[in-house]
């Protein structure tokens, strides 16, 4: 079985976010990059399945310049078997999805897995777009994934309950929290082997971006938390009424 796992290269969650060029670009100075945590969880789940059923080959795919190689090699260190980097700046979700779909077509893969969203732009759409390009089923935000022969059973969390979906291969699914408990820590051998695993760089296919970033703004700061004495509910009501104006 061959699985294509999309991996994105994102700023570490503790990064200080700043913008440059009149707030039209993210300032990459001094930023440490990591694999997007949902992708890491998806990879962890695939490795668990691989250990159960054996015979699974995991190819990590990413779209980006040579600067993302350390991130994709991290996926190799954790346990992906090989990797493909589509050599282009990831301009928008559609562009990225098109590239991943193209890699899928050229590789006889059985299914595609992504993280629910990359934690930088949190677009939550690449997986669905890949499915659309390939015209195959898509199940977003999987909280559990089991494989039985050619059939995948995926659980999604929905309002007030769970939805259990079965789909035959090929399909696209995106993993969210719950797909695996904790991301897998690479072992020392894995880290040392990462450079020895194949990382194939391929050119991008033509795909015009459909969106463009005009401007970034920071979210409003949340302000300090006000502690109110538990014995003084009247003060809470007053603040909710006069300051927060929600009552």
């Amino acid at each position: 079985m061959k699985v294509l796992l999309a991996v994105s290269h994102v700023p570490d969650t503790t990064s200080k976010i700043r913008f440059v060029n009149k707030d039209s670009e993210f300032d990459k100075t001094d930023i440490q990059y990591i694999i997007s945590p949902f992708d890491e969880l998806a990879l962890t789940r695939l490795l668990q399945i691989k250990e159960q059923i054996g015979g699974m080959h995991i190819t990590a795919v990413t779209v980006g310049g040579a600067d993302v190689d350390p991130t994709i090699r991290k996926a190799l260190a954790i346990g992906a078997d090989d990797a493909v980097r589509v050599d282009a700046e990831p301009t928008d979700a559609l562009f990225v999805a098109r590239q991943i779909a193209e890699v899928f077509k050229n590789g006889e893969f059985d299914f595609v897995m992504t993280g629910k969203e990359s934690i930088d732009f949190t677009g939550n759409q690449v997986g669905e777009m890949v499915a659309e390009f390939l015209n195959i089923p898509s199940v977003a935000s999987a909280a559990s994934l089991e494989l039985n022969g050619n059939i995948a059973t995926i659980i999604r969390e929905i309002d007030g309950g769970k939805e259990v979906i079965e789909t035959p291969m090929p399909f696209v699914t995106s993993g969210q929290k719950g797909i695996a408990k904790e991301p897998r820590i690479p072992n020392m051998r894995g880290i040392m082997m990462a450079r020895k695993k194949p990382l194939n760089v391929v050119p991008a296919v033509e795909q015009a971006a459909h969106t463009k970033v005009v401007k970034f703004t920071m979210p409003e700061s949340r302000g300090a938390c006000k502690m109110i004495d538990a014995d003084n509910p009247a003060e809470l009501i007053r603040l909710l009424h006069e300051e927060a104006k929600v009552l």
Binding site: P70, I185, P186, M188, M192, A194
Partner: protein, 380 residues
């Protein structure tokens, strides 16, 4: 000169940090309190390859450099130095000694399981009456032709009850002084070998330290490491490298306490502001950071020299001396910054302070490091 860590170094550092946070931190206070060994955690460290990091992959190790090892050691020691001392003994004393001085047969039989996480080892040099002065070995290994018979007591042995294999230093020719000492590999189940109860310690209470008793213990000749009489040199050479690991342990303990102190200084308020805004506390933090950063650079330099196959004896002693003293000072200050909260177990810093004390004592006390350093300076 290049101070950058490689991609692999960064991955190792992150892996060790993540492991410490997710798997060592839970329960660390209880394990220390009740002197419970981190057995499950050590198993995981074996699976992850933390127990044989520097050993050649052909013997089951990670094939990593000393920089990788000290990075992992620092991260793990920030959280649980009971686990890190078990790691340190296995990596830098037992595996290193066997890889560098063992025969091919010894490597296949002992190093492979030790480096690949299937066995744990101990290094037994100290005795009740031979600590700093390790030449005064009372344990005797009598040469019986095709085997040795070992009698004596070893004291303070880390991994004493966890190991399958023990490297034991003993005298064969007391009349030859330190040139009559040998090192042996002794298996756990050898008749005549018993392990005493563990010591009730001040710190690193999760790591158990035992006396080992040998009574007419028959050890095959092929279990001697190196030529007849090589044992003292073996022990000293091994400890030279081990020191770099203990220095990194001290650094981790200190840095762990400093990280907690910085966080606490931003949260705790006194006299209308965060305590970190009182200059007395801010300057303490500046001093602590300076000491830790100096320790880190000394350690990385010693590790680098070792990786370059240059002489690292002096550099290792300097790194260990400074890091242990700095860790003791930094952890004590971290308790001070936490005030009364620092004195209770829940806040971690008191444990780190107790742990730091040990780094000034084992693998050569601070005074012994001063001897090594000053002898290096005064040598003609």
């Amino acid at each position: 000169m290049d101070f950058n860590l490689s991609e692999e170094h960064l991955m190792i550092q992150k892996a060790a940090r993540d492991f410490a946070r997710t798997e060592l931190l839970p329960g660390v206070i209880e394990r220390d309190d009740n002197a419970i060994k981190p057995i499950e955690q050590i198993k995981r460290m074996q699976e992850l390859g933390f127990m044989g990091m520097m050993v050649d992959p052909k013997y089951g190790g990670g094939g990593m450099d000393t920089i990788s090892y000290v990075l992992a050691m620092e991260e793990i020691s920030k959280v649980d130095s009971s686990a890190s001392v078990m790691m340190s003994v296995n990596n830098s004393l037992v595996c290193w000694g066997l890889e560098n001085y063992g025969t091919e047969a010894q490597k296949q039989k002992y190093l492979v399981p030790l480096a690949s996480g299937k066995a744990i080892g101990a290094f037994a040099l100290s005795e009740p009456e031979a600590g700093s002065d390790a030449t005064k070995q009372h344990t005797i290994a009598k040469d019986m032709g095709d085997h040795y018979v070992v009698n004596g007591i070893k004291n303070w042995i880390t991994n004493g009850s966890d190991s399958q294999y023990y490297i034991v230093i003993a005298h064969t020719h007391p009349e030859k002084g330190h040139k009559g000492i040998n090192a042996f590999i002794i298996e756990k189940d050898t008749p005549g070998f018993t392990v005493g109860p563990h010591e009730n310690k001040m710190g690193m209470r999760g790591s158990h330290t035992h006396a080992l008793m040998f009574q007419d213990c028959k050890v095959p000749k092929e279990n001697r490491i190196g030529d007849d009489g090589f044992g003292f040199k073996f022990a000293m050479n091994t400890l030279n490298g081990g020191r770099i690991g203990i220095a990194a342990q001290a650094l981790g303990i200190g840095q762990g306490a400093l990280d907690l102190a910085i966080q606490y200084s931003k949260e705790r308020k006194a006299f209308g502001k965060e305590i970190g805004h009182h200059q007395a506390i801010a300057f303490k933090l500046a001093d602590m950071h300076t000491e830790m950063e100096a320790a880190r650079l000394l350690i990385h330099k010693a590790a680098w020299l070792k990786d370059q196959h240059k002489d690292y004896g002096m550099a290792g002693a300097i790194a260990k001396y400074h890091a242990a003293e700095a860790a003791m000072h930094v952890t004590t200050e971290a308790v001070q910054i936490h005030g009364g909260y620092g004195y209770v177990k829940e806040y971690h810093v008191e444990r780190l302070m107790r742990d730091a004390k040990l780094t000034q004592i084992y693998e050569g006390t601070s005074e012994i490091q001063q001897i090594v350093i000053s002898r290096g300076l005064l040598r003609d």
